[in-house]
Symmetry: C2
């Protein structure tokens, strides 16, 4: 098996072939011709070229459909992508095959505030470890997600409120250089959204929102199967929507942001205040034990029926639901997927978000709107980041990265 492949698709037709094989699995040449509505001659020629490029391989005769048997085609066995999904307090790194099945993965703690050298250093160490585990020297490409705004075309972080030291840092090129392969950088929420589209609950939906509630809050927007990034690349930045004229100060410096009410950091802050004020014995004990409370502690309290924890989650979910109701009226999406670290708080949060969103939106827009939890968890970021770069390797079209 070759572990280092230099090829990239050369034409839109080759890109369409590869995307089919990635998303639908192995297909016969006859099936490829049907699905792409081109002649078998064209398919045969393009597949031949993709085999030469090390991107596809023939995989024996197809089952007979009557007449001459067609040949099965699959993505080359040796294709490997790296996915790096960095959050504010944790990251996931992994290696996938050409169809974006995760072959090996690591979940690591991190503190995004330590700056790009430290955090990317840890990420690359994790990547080298998973590459070694699956015996790959050089991947075909790497996708990266970071928890803040990104200049997609330049591959750099831009004025990230919670990421001191990252502004303007050439994340994409640094990773590309270290791993010796093409790389692409996007916002972590966008990466999670396309992961969900590829392998999660949004597989069958063309227009959906992926809402990440982690330390911060953000939203990935998929329109007609494509990620929508906005004219400045900052679409979906819903964490800094002002939901109240008064309210706690946000990491961005403003007051009343959604994130400052409902993000994981905000829930931890309110839990700490509740513990100190003697409103929750359980949270006070955890605080005394660990010196600090996190959103995960609120999840534990919730499991024990702690009423203060219930109150905190309902308040958090209510604010998120109010914003989502507005977005539903505006955008009329086909699905809303809730993901991110705070989903450990699970169904209590979802119930509150659903109640408020359905209650406040017009019936026409919510009649057939599912609001569901992501099923992928941390692996979603790895799959999404791998899909991001697979789009670039498979598709030679500028600007069509997924």
């Amino acid at each position: 098996m070759r572990h280092s492949l230099a090829g990239r698709a050369e034409s839109p037709m080759q890109a369409r072939l590869l995307a089919r094989l990635r998303d639908d699995g192995p297909l016969s040449k006859a099936q490829l011709a049907d699905r792409l509505q081109v002649s078998r001659t064209t398919v045969a020629a393009e597949v031949g070229r993709l085999v030469e490029l090390g991107l596809a391989q023939e995989a024996g005769p197809a089952a007979s459909r009557g007449g001459r048997r067609s040949t099965m085609v699959d993505l080359a066995e040796g294709i490997r992508f790296v996915g790096i999904s960095i959050g504010a307090t944790g990251m996931s790194v992994g290696v996938t095959d050409g169809r974006l099945t995760v072959l090996a993965t690591r979940h690591l703690s991190c503190d995004i505030r330590q700056g790009p050298e430290v955090v990317l250093g840890a990420a690359l160490e994790g990547v080298r470890s998973v590459l070694a585990e699956v015996g790959v020297e050089r991947p075909m490409g790497a996708g990266i997600g970071v928890p803040g705004p990104v200049d997609f075309d330049r591959g750099i972080s831009v004025t990230p409120p919670i990421m001191p030291g990252w502004d303007g840092y050439p994340v994409r090129d640094a990773v590309s250089r270290e791993l010796g392969c093409p790389a692409l950088l996007d916002n972590d929420v966008n990466v999670l959204a396309i992961g969900e589209q590829h392998a999660g609950v949004a597989r069958s939906v063309r227009d959906f929102l992926f809402v990440k509630i982690g330390t911060g809050i953000g939203c990935g927007i998929v329109i007609d199967g494509q990620l929508y990034r906005g004219v400045d690349g900052c679409a979906g930045d819903i964490g800094h929507i002002r939901v109240d004229d008064f309210g706690p100060t946000c990491a961005c410096g403003n007051t009343g942001c959604l994130e400052a009410f409902s993000g994981g950091a905000a829930v931890a802050r309110d839990a700490t205040a509740a513990a100190r004020a003697g409103r929750s014995t359980f949270l006070a004990e955890r605080l005394a034990e660990n010196g600090v409370l996190t959103a995960a502690d609120v999840g534990l309290a919730l499991q024990r029926g702690d009423t203060e924890a219930v109150q905190l989650i309902r308040e958090s979910g209510r604010r998120v639901g109010e914003v989502l109701a507005t977005l539903v009226s505006f955008f009329n999406p086909g699905m809303i997927v809730i993901g991110g670290g705070v989903t450990g708080l699970g169904h209590a949060l979802l119930a509150e978000i659903r109640g408020v969103t359905y209650g406040r939106s017009l019936p026409l827009a919510t009649g057939s709107l599912p609001i569901v939890l992501s099923e992928l968890g941390a692996e979603g970021g790895v799959i999404g980041a791998a899909r991001l770069i697979s789009g670039s390797v498979y598709a030679p079209l500028a600007g069509r990265a997924n």
Copy 2:
């Protein structure tokens, strides 16, 4: 000149040729070949077919570029489209040529609550009058906008809150039958948005929002040059976003909707209350004279420096601005265009909307975001409706209506 033309484009290539001629004006065959990146032979063949279909015409030799002179091509001179743009209290109807230049137009009062027979009857009477004015017997197609949700594929109105009697009414087919030509129905705000895209301030923008503040409030969403309608066709229904848990009852039956605070009807209601409470001498006089106040009266009061009118407009603009700030953070558009009847209140309203929207959004999303008034006025609806149907006549692709 032929006034009745039965042709429609037969292929995507013909549709691309026609759209070029519509949007860019007459072009030589050489220019068409360049802009569409196809051979001159292909252009010559397709143009020949379009001439046979009565959709295009040759228009003499082009200016020399050295070598053999190319032939100019234009849309057929006899192409005529009808545009019907119906609001809650007024409508515009008109006839355009193939490039959507308005040849004749009428602006009529109406009351949408009188139901589809009465309102469409008046619209068709107006259409027949403008058709007679320009000597056209049968137009090539008609576009219609109505002030409420629409099932685009079926061409009917759907549960319109302010339109009793319209639910399920086959508006598209009724107009098509009466005028003897293909027709398309859309929401009035979508029609205004594509009018703005064709001939207004949004000509150079691919992603923008058109916000109509008339009797009601709605938003047209253009993404990558295409209208986005949402999965149920009700995207952009921002008038019923709840901006306050308490507030006046809306026409839709809920409380606290944006429209119930900031729409033209709401402004008129608040002006009436102010007049009755003795807070504005001017408004009280207008109320005594006419028995009723409209948003236009508030505009007049504003011109006289009436402080109560200033207050009403600021309050209206503030609520709109709060919602737009949320949408800017979410959608990161390239432009926001404000249009509709209430723009008669003009720059005072715009100033307030701008102040709140810029003040509350993240700098990254507003750094280069123009928020501007529509320059087209009522004619924008006629142009947009004509463009809607021109897309269908020119483009044989299902679902690509603009």
